[in-house]
C-alpha cells in the first residue's frame, strides 16, 4: 500500500517541470536586448567615424524608430519585410536543428519565386481560391526540390551541404537571368529582363487598402503565421521532428537508435527548401507581382542571421524576423529623413549577430544585467 503511494509521489515529483531558470532568461531575453543596444551604440560610433554629426545621428535613430513602428504605414512595411525573412529563416532553423548548415536559402527563394511567378501568370481566369494556393504550392515544391539536390548529394556522396548549396545559389542566379530572357516568360514589349506580371487571381491580396491604398501588407502574413505553427509542430511534436533533432544533436546516437540518416538529411533539406521557396513565392505574389533580376535581394542570407538570432526556434525566428524587418523598414526611413546610407543598417544587423554570438562579451559590457558566474552554477 505505502509502496504504491510512495511510487505515486515519486512519479509526480519526477514529472514536475523546473521553472525556467534565470540562466535561460538571461540567454534568451537579456543577451539579445543588450546585443541590440550595443549594436546601435557601435553603429553611432561608425557614423561618427564617417563624419556624420551628432544631430544627424540622433535624427537617423529617430527615423529608424519612426520608420519601423512609428505609424501604421511603418508597421505595415516592417511586417511586409519580415514575412520572407521569417519564412526562409524557419527553413534554415529547421536545417540547423537537423545538423545541416544550409546556405542555399537564396537560391531556393529564387527557384521558388520563378515557379510561383510562372504559375501566377500562366492561368488567367482561374478562380483565386485555386490559383493562389497553386502558385504558393509551386513555389514550395520548387524550392524543396532544389534544396533536395544538396540533401541528396550529402546523403549519397558525402558532399558537404555548405559547398553544394553555395554552388546551387550561383546556378540559380544564372537560371533566373536565363529564364527572364525566354520569350514565353518575358513581358511583351519589353527588352529588359522582366517576367510577365502575376494575374490578380494569384496575387496575395493586400490587407489594409481600406485604410490607405498605399499600405503594402499582404496575406502572406497568414502564410508566415501558419508556417511558424507548422514548424513548431513538426519539430517538437512529431516523430519526424524528433528524428531531425536527434540527428542534429548526435548523429551517432541517432544511427544507433535505428534512424536513417540519409532519409532524414534529404527530408530536412527538402522541408527547409520548401519554406525558402514559399518566401520566394511570397515576394513575387505579394510584393513585386513579377520576377526581376536579383529579386531575392539577399533575403536568403539575412535569413541565416534571423535563424541564428532566433536560436533555431520557430518562435525565436518569428521575433528575430520581425526585428530584422523593422530594421529594414526603419533603415529606408533613415535614408530618406537623415540621408544616412542604408548600408548602416547592414552594419547594425551584423553587429547584433556578432554580439549575440559572443554572450560573454555582452556579459562583460553589462555586468549588472547578469548574475555572477559563480551563482549561476546550480
Amino acid at each position: 500500500m505505502t509502496d504504491t503511494s510512495n511510487r505515486d509521489t515519486l512519479t509526480a515529483k519526477l514529472l514536475q517541470r523546473a521553472a525556467p531558470g534565470r540562466a535561460e532568461f538571461e540567454d534568451l531575453v537579456i543577451v539579445p536586448i543588450f546585443a541590440v543596444i550595443v549594436a546601435l551604440i557601435v553603429g553611432a560610433l561608425v557614423m561618427l567615424a564617417t563624419a556624420v554629426d551628432i544631430q544627424t545621428i540622433g535624427r537617423s535613430y529617430l527615423a529608424l524608430l519612426q520608420g519601423s513602428v512609428g505609424s501604421i504605414n511603418s508597421l505595415s512595411e516592417t511586417l511586409t519585410s519580415a514575412i520572407p525573412l521569417v519564412l526562409a529563416g524557419l527553413g534554415l532553423a529547421l536545417g540547423f536543428r537537423a545538423g545541416l548548415f544550409n546556405i542555399g536559402a537564396e537560391g531556393q527563394i529564387i527557384v521558388g519565386g520563378i515557379a510561383a511567378v510562372i504559375v501566377g501568370f500562366s492561368f488567367p481566369g482561374m478562380p483565386w481560391i485555386i490559383h493562389l494556393p497553386l502558385a504558393l504550392l509551386a513555389g514550395a515544391v520548387a524550392g524543396g526540390l532544389y534544396a533536395s539536390i544538396a540533401g541528396w548529394l550529402r546523403a549519397a556522396t558525402g558532399a558537404h551541404e555548405v559547398i553544394s548549396t553555395i554552388m546551387l545559389n550561383l546556378i540559380s542566379y544564372r537560371l533566373l537571368d536565363y529564364m527572364l530572357g525566354l520569350t514565353w516568360m518575358q513581358r511583351e514589349g519589353r527588352s529588359d529582363p522582366v517576367s510577365k506580371s502575376v494575374v490578380p487571381s494569384a496575387e496575395l491580396p493586400r490587407l489594409l487598402t481600406d485604410i490607405d491604398p498605399n499600405l503594402r501588407l499582404h496575406a502572406g502574413i497568414f502564410v508566415m503565421i501558419g508556417a511558424v505553427i507548422l514548424v513548431y509542430w513538426l519539430l517538437f511534436k512529431t516523430k519526424t521532428g524528433f528524428e531531425f533533432r536527434a540527428s542534429g544533436e548526435n548523429p551517432d546516437a541517432a544511427r544507433y537508435a535505428g534512424m536513417r540518416a540519409s532519409l532524414i538529411i534529404v527530408l530536412a533539406m527538402a522541408t527547409a527548401g520548401a519554406l525558402a521557396g514559399l518566401a520566394g513565392a511570397n515576394q513575387v505574389l505579394g510584393v513585386l507581382e513579377r520576377a526581376t533580376p536579383g529579386f531575392s535581394a539577399g533575403i536568403g542570407f539575412d535569413a541565416i542571421s534571423v535563424a541564428l538570432l532566433g536560436r533555431s526556434h520557430p518562435i525565436g525566428v518569428l521575433f528575430a524576423g520581425l526585428l530584422f524587418g523593422a530594421l529594414e523598414a526603419g533603415g529606408r526611413q533613415m535614408q530618406v529623413d537623415a540621408g544616412v546610407s542604408i548600408d548602416l543598417i547592414g552594419i547594425i544587423q551584423a553587429l547584433i549577430i556578432v554580439f549575440i554570438a559572443a554572450p560573454l562579451l555582452v556579459r562583460a559590457i553589462f555586468p549588472w544585467g547578469f548574475r555572477k558566474p559563480a551563482e549561476r552554477k546550480e
Partner: protein
C-alpha cells in the same frame, strides 16, 4: 619529497567537492586513493597539480606551505600527473613526445635531439621502463604508451607521481608488468598516488589506502588488514555485495547464431575474422579481449550498425545478416552501446526524450505523425523509478546526470520492453560500485527470465563474474572459449588468450 594536504576545501557554487580533506603523501610509498565517481578524487588531484586553487586549506611540500597559481606550478614543484587519457602525439617518436614543451635547445633554437634521446635512455634504465626512445607512438601498444606518459613526468623531475586510473586500458599481464614499474619507482624514493576504483588492485599495490566519499576522507587503512568488502563499504557508505546473484544455469533454444562472420573497417582492414558463435536463451556469453581486437565491430555487425562482408547472422531462426538495426531492435534485440556519450544517448535531450530514443515510433508512443508526449513522460518517470535513475525531474537534460545515472537511463530504455537478446558493451565502464552492482543485477535478471545476454568488457573481472561462457577475441578472431558453468575459469589462461598466446 613529502606532500601534505591540510584542511583542503573546494566549492563549486553550492557543491562542495572537497570538504576539509587531509592527506599525506610520503616519499617511497604508494598511496592508494579509492573513491566512486564524483567523490572528489579529480578535484583533489587538480588542486595538487595546481589547476584549481583551494578555497580553504594549505598544501605543504616537505613541511613548507606552497601556493600554486597555475597548472604549471605543480610540475615545477615536482608533482606530475599521468592522466587516464594519454596526451601523446601519435606521429612523434617517444623521445620527441617526452621532451615536448621542455625541449633541450642549443644555439638559435636548435633542437638538441641527441641529448634528449640520451636523457630518455638514462631514465629508462634507471627505472626499468624498457621503452625505445626512437619508436613512433602510433606503433606502440597502449601499455607502452602509458610508460611514455610516466617517462614524461619523470623527465620533468617529478618526485610525486599521480596515476589516474592507470590500469583501465591494460590486459591482466600488462597490469602485472605495470605494477613492477610502480614498485621500482617507489623503491627509488618516488611518492606515488594511485587512483582507482578497483579494489583488488589497490590492495595489491598500495602501502596505505585513503577512501574518499562525498568530498571527505571516509576511511584510511592498511591494505594488509583490510578486505575488499570493508573497502567497498567505506567507498559506497553501505554494504556492497560482490556476488552476482543468478539463478541456476538452464540454457534453452539457440537465439543467435553467428557463422564465419567477416567485418571490415573503413580502411578495409579486417576487424572481425571468420568469427562463429551462438548464444542460447538463459545464458550469459562474455566476450573478453583487449580493446581494439574486433569486439566493437562484432557487436556493431550483430546489431545491424555495421556492414557484414561475409558470413551470416541469424536471430530467432531468421536470417538477419542484412536486416536494419531497427528491424533487429523490434525483434527483441537490446543494445547497450559501449560509449554512451557518443552513441547511447543525447546529452542535450531531456531524460524523457532519451528514454524513447529508439522506441518513439512505436504505437505506444505515437499516433500518426505525432508523438504522444504525455504518454512518453509518464513512461519515462516509471522507467526512472524502476531503474533507480536518480534525478529531480525527467525534464532534466541527460547531460546533467552523473555517469552512473546516465548508464542506468540507457539500460532502462533497452531493457524495459520485450527483449530476447541483450547485448551489453562495456556496461559498467567508468561507473561507481553502486551502479555497477545494480546494472549487473538487472542483466542477470534478464538472463534468468530467459533472455540471451552478451557482455563485452575489457574488465576481465566483470566477464569472469557474470558469464556462463567466455569467448576471447584476439586480432578479430575468437581464439578461445571457456565454460564457466563447470567450475571456476583460470583467469590466467583467459589473460594469456587475450594477449594472443593461444596461437
Amino acid at each position: 619529497m613529502d606532500v601534505e594536504l591540510r584542511g583542503i576545501t573546494k566549492r563549486f557554487g553550492p557543491v562542495t567537492a572537497n570538504d576539509d580533506v587531509n592527506l599525506t603523501i610520503r616519499a617511497g610509498e604508494v598511496l592508494g586513493l579509492l573513491g566512486e565517481n564524483g567523490a572528489g578524487k579529480s578535484t583533489m588531484m587538480n588542486i595538487l597539480s595546481g589547476l584549481y586553487s583551494p578555497d580553504e586549506g594549505q598544501i605543504l611540500i616537505d613541511g613548507k606551505p606552497v601556493d600554486f597559481e597555475g597548472p604549471g606550478d605543480g610540475i615545477a614543484a615536482g608533482i606530475g600527473m599521468v592522466h587516464q587519457h594519454f596526451m601523446l602525439v601519435p606521429v612523434f617518436t617517444v623521445a620527441e613526445n617526452v621532451i615536448l614543451g621542455v625541449e633541450p635547445t642549443g644555439r638559435f633554437d636548435y633542437l638538441d635531439l641527441a641529448t634528449a634521446r640520451k636523457q630518455v635512455r638514462d631514465i629508462n634504465e634507471k627505472y626499468g621502463l624498457q621503452v625505445d626512445p626512437d619508436a613512433l607512438i602510433e606503433d606502440l601498444p597502449v601499455g607502452i604508451q602509458q610508460r611514455v606518459e610516466i617517462l614524461k613526468v619523470l623527465f620533468r623531475s617529478a618526485e610525486v607521481l599521480i596515476l589516474d586510473e592507470p590500469t583501465a586500458v591494460l590486459t591482466p599481464q600488462e597490469v602485472e608488468e605495470f605494477f613492477g614499474i610502480v614498485k621500482s619507482l617507489r623503491d627509488a624514493g618516488k611518492a606515488i598516488v594511485f587512483i582507482t576504483h578497483k579494489l583488488h588492485e589497490i590492495i595489491e599495490i598500495a602501502d596505505r589506502i585513503n577512501v574518499l566519499r562525498g568530498g571527505r576522507i571516509t576511511g584510511e587503512g592498511d591494505p594488509k588488514t583490510l578486505t575488499e568488502n570493508q573497502l567497498a563499504e567505506m567507498m559506497v557508505g553501505r554494504p556492497v555485495s560482490f556476488d552476482v546473484k543468478k539463478g541456476p544455469f538452464d540454457p534453452k533454444e539457440t537465439l543467435l547464431e553467428v557463422k564465419n562472420l567477416v567485418v571490415l573497417r573503413e580502411n578495409d582492414e579486417i576487424a572481425v575474422n571468420h568469427a562463429s558463435f551462438h548464444v542460447r536463451s538463459g545464458e550469459v556469453v562474455g566476450i573478453a579481449g583487449v580493446q581494439g581486437n574486433g569486439q566493437s565491430a562484432l557487436i556493431e555487425a550483430v546489431t545491424g550498425l555495421h556492414h557484414v562482408t561475409a558470413g551470416s547472422i541469424s536471430f530467432l531462426g531468421k536470417d538477419i545478416t542484412n536486416a536494419s538495426a531497427r528491424e533487429r531492435h523490434r525483434m527483441g534485440m537490446a543494445h547497450i552501446p559501449e560509449d554512451r556519450h557518443k552513441s547511447g544517448m543525447i546529452s542535450n535531450f531531456t531524460i524523457y526524450e532519451n528514454m524513447v530514443l529508439n522506441t518513439y515510433y512505436d504505437d505506444r508512443f505515437s499516433n500518426g505523425p505525432n508523438i504522444k508526449w504525455p504518454e512518453v513522460l509518464k513512461t519515462a518517470a516509471q522507467y526512472a523509478i524502476d531503474f533507480d535513475v536518480r534525478t529531480p525531474s525527467v525534464y532534466l537534460k541527460a547531460g546533467n546526470l552523473s555517469g552512473g545515472n546516465q548508464q542506468k537511463m540507457v539500460v532502462a530504455r533497452e531493457l524495459e520492453r520485450e527483449t530476447k537478446l541483450v547485448i551489453a558493451a562495456q556496461p559498467t565502464r567508468g561507473l561507481d560500485v553502486g551502479s555497477i552492482e545494480y546494472i549487473h543485477s538487472r542483466l542477470m535478471d534478464a538472463r534468468d527470465e530467459g533472455d540471451g545476454v552478451i557482455i563485452v568488457s575489457s574488465e576481465l573481472d566483470e566477464i569472469m563474474s557474470l558469464s556462463d561462457r567466455i569467448l576471447v577475441m584476439f586480432e578479430g578472431r575468437i581464439v578461445a572459449e571457456f565454460d564457466a558453468t563447470a567450475g571456476p575459469v583460470d583467469k590466467n589462461a583467459v589473460g594469456l588468450a587475450m594477449a594472443g598466446a593461444h596461437e
